[in-house]
């Protein structure tokens, strides 16, 4: 089931229980609908008595998983500050999101360690987050040391090797040997190689057309 929330549906409070049930569905089915979750959080803002912090935490965790999309940013401005500070799980999730946003991956993994059950209850969380971290690395590094990779992704030993093997097969990563140890080569894109861009000036006809009238007078 997917709820489409448009028009007057956005503002009918009777939808609240439906939207709450839908959150659990999104968690189990690994789907995501920003519209319906924004509507849910908006209702929570309008009637603080009906807030369920557990559901808020779940929605925010799912939002983190959508990175690099700014969905988390869109939702956090709907939450009153009091809620962010009073409920422990919501507070922790906000810290996690802030760490990810500023690429402080070591802080992120430290914080994630403190709420492992909460994060474990959302299927697909760790894969999505690792996917986002890998995405950031791919756009910054042409080649990255294994040490850095391991620290960022929080994978060691056999799991790291397995992860790399998978990525080499599916995503175009490669292992390169250097005197200082093994280095992982990341797929080439616009951001991680030297591109000398020469922007040419092309003068289009429609830029010149208005002037032609006055210039050609007298012909």
């Amino acid at each position: 089931m997917s709820i489409i929330v448009t028009g007057a549906d956005r503002y009918s409070p009777e939808k609240l229980p439906q939207l709450e049930v839908y959150v659990d569905e999104q968690v189990t089915n690994r789907t995501w609908s920003l519209d319906s979750n924004a509507t849910l959080l908006r209702f929570y803002q309008f009637s603080p008595a009906s807030v369920k912090p557990a559901i808020v935490a779940k929605v925010l965790i799912k939002a983190i998983m959508q990175a690099p999309n700014q969905d988390f940013k869109c939702l956090i401005t709907l939450l009153p500050e009091r809620l962010q500070q009073s409920d422990e799980s919501v507070y922790k999730v906000v810290q996690l999101a802030n760490a990810l946003e500023t690429s402080r991956f070591s802080d992120f993994w430290n914080a994630a360690n403190t709420c492992r059950e909460l994060l474990g209850s959302i299927p697909g969380f760790y894969e999505s987050v690792r996917g986002f971290i890998a995405h950031t690395l791919v756009h910054t590094y042409g080649r990255v040391t294994k040490r850095t990779l391991a620290d960022c992704l929080k994978l060691e030993g056999a799991t790291l090797e397995q992860y790399l093997a998978e990525k080499c097969k599916s995503a175009g990563w490669s292992i390169v040997n250097t005197p200082a140890g093994e280095v992982v080569g990341l797929p080439k894109n616009d951001d991680n190689q030297s591109v000398v861009k020469r922007t040419q000036e092309l003068i289009r006809f429609d830029q010149v057309a208005p002037m032609l009238k006055s210039v050609t007078v007298g012909f």
Partner: protein, 528 residues
């Protein structure tokens, strides 16, 4: 009636105004209605009701045939005047809310045949939301209220309730069918006929049109920027060929102010700068024409606010300056150059003060706990948004300094750069990753959904990290992008300006000719 009733006289001229206003509305005489609405009403207000309310509706009801619809419209203007010139009491606020419910209820359910000037319909929606904001502000100041006021407030929980407000706006949008109409032809017919379709009423249609902007505004005020941009569908902020709002400055400025602000809070600085650029150019062009209108001050205030927001956009995303018009850039430099220099050094206080001045008046959508009268709850909503914004600013605070260092090199070893900047290698790696991540943002590139977009890199500095395969050292490599200066737009602009000047110079000067004729006649008369 009781002998204690005051004897209230309404000046004859005011009764006449009401009578003719009513007649013109019945006869659908739009130019007359507009003139009486804009000009006569203000003149009479200044003359008789400078600091007091207009007569209550029952005093003029007899000259307008007790017409129900006209009384509702009159009351709308009555309360608008009251809010502007006097201090509304709780009773006034409740009565005004009831009047709006009645008025909009009537327009939604019965098929009215009248035509009203578009500016009035825009003012209705604008004032409706202004009174909503005003009520939330009033309600939040619990500690300065008397106990009986608090008791009365507790009874009025339906009054100016945010869900009701949103439902009214949405009902106006739905009932007017404006979405289907704009989807059909992109608004071409609306622009051509200015909403005054023959043989039908323009009231519901234009109220629906302006309610789209109303929804955008309310969503911004509660911090819901994503839905705000979704709510203005199918208005298009970036392709403005058939946008009707430029005819009404208040509507156009409101639309783009809240639209640009929504983009800014979602970290879409390129789109935000584009919105602000469009509307600041618009104000630059039309403000001379509106110098005498009552909205002039409001226009100037929004102008200043948007320059502040644009300065914030450029500080957080310098690459956005490429898409700005040169007039706007020039004005921006005049007004905000000090602030921009401070922001590029990472001065948080400047960001804070600019945001405070330029942001909308956020509303706390729920009533405060009346029994715990401790703080002003209006600040809660504002502080939440401010803190969210400052969090974003702080996450970029160290980046300008990093950029300065990177600009000096085409390649440098990571370890060496860390030593130069006096930071740990791990911290440096994190900052480089952060810089790269912050340069990527969503940019709208077509389609009707204002929230859609593709990921683009908005940067004036491109770099990447690589490992030298020979030595195994990590290097930061800065790309060398040479930009050729574009002269074509600049030259075209100046050619056009010079042509205008030459054309003006070659016209025969009419004033000088008349003066010459006058001076020729005067000595002739003197001699005679």
């Amino acid at each position: 009636m009781g002998g204690l009733q005051e004897f209230y006289t309404v000046p004859d001229i005011v009764k006449q105004w009401a009578h003719y206003f009513y007649r013109h509305i019945r006869e659908r005489n739009i130019p007359e209605i507009q003139s009486m609405y804009e000009i006569s009403f203000l003149k009479l207000s200044d003359r008789y009701y400078k600091a007091s309310p207009w007569p209550e509706v029952q005093h003029i009801a007899e000259v307008v045939d007790q017409d129900h619809v006209f009384c509702l419209l009159y009351k709308e203007m009555y309360y608008r005047h009251l809010y502007a010139r006097c201090q509304p009491t709780l009773r006034d606020r409740c009565e005004s809310w009831d009047n709006y419910c009645d008025l909009f209820g009537l327009l939604l359910t019965s098929n009215v045949n009248m035509q009203l000037p578009n500016i009035w319909l825009w003012d209705m929606v604008d004032e409706f939301l202004y009174q909503f904001q005003s009520f939330c502000q009033y309600r939040g100041k619990v500690q300065s209220m008397s106990p009986e006021e608090i008791e009365n407030l507790k009874k009025c929980d339906k009054v100016w309730n945010i869900v009701e407000v949103l439902n009214i706006l949405q009902a106006l949008v739905d009932k007017s069918g404006i979405v289907a109409e704009l989807e059909g032809d992109g608004g071409a017919r609306l622009c051509q006929l200015e909403g005054y379709y023959p043989q039908s009423s323009n009231v519901l249609r234009m109220l629906g049109y302006f309610s789209l902007t109303g929804l955008l505004r309310v969503h911004c005020l509660v911090g819901d920027y994503f839905t705000a941009l979704k709510a203005i569908y199918p208005l298009n902020l970036h392709e403005r060929t058939h946008l009707f709002t430029p005819r009404i400055p208040g509507a156009h400025i409101t639309l783009f102010y809240y639209g640009g602000f929504s983009y800014l809070m979602q970290r879409r600085y390129l789109d935000a700068a584009r919105c602000f650029n469009a509307v600041l150019l618009y104000i630059y062009r039309v403000k001379a024409a509106h110098r005498n209108s009552p909205q002039y001050e409001q226009m100037l205030k929004k102008n200043e606010q948007m320059y502040a927001l644009l300065a914030i956009c450029l500080a957080l995303c310098p690459a956005a300056s490429k898409s700005l018009d040169e007039n706007v850039l020039m004005q921006l430099r005049e007004r905000q150059s000090d602030n921009m220099a401070a922001m590029s050094r990472g001065d948080i206080d400047v960001y804070d003060s600019l945001f405070r001045d330029a942001c909308p008046k956020f509303v706390t959508s729920t009533p405060p706990a009346y029994d715990q009268a401790t703080t002003n709850t209006n600040q809660l909503a504002f502080r939440a948004q401010l803190n969210s914004f400052l969090l974003e600013v702080r996450s970029q605070q160290t980046l300008p300094q990093l950029k300065q260092y990177l600009l000096l090199y085409s390649s440098i070893a990571l370890g060496r750069l860390a030593a130069l900047m006096d930071v740990e290698e791990g911290a440096l790696r994190q900052q480089l990753l952060c810089l790269k991540a912050k340069q990527r943002q969503l940019k709208w590139d077509g389609g009707k959904d204002m929230t859609a977009g593709t990921w683009t890199v908005a940067s004036d500095l491109e770099f990447h990290i690589d490992v030298d395969t020979a030595t195994g050292r990590e290097m930061v490599l800065v790309s060398d992008s040479t930009t050729v200066a574009t002269y074509a737009p600049l030259l075209a602009h100046h050619i056009f300006r010079f042509e205008e000047i030459i054309r003006d110079l070659s016209l025969p000067p009419p004033v000088a000719a008349a003066a010459a004729a006058a001076t020729a006649a005067a000595p002739a008369a003197a001699r005679a």
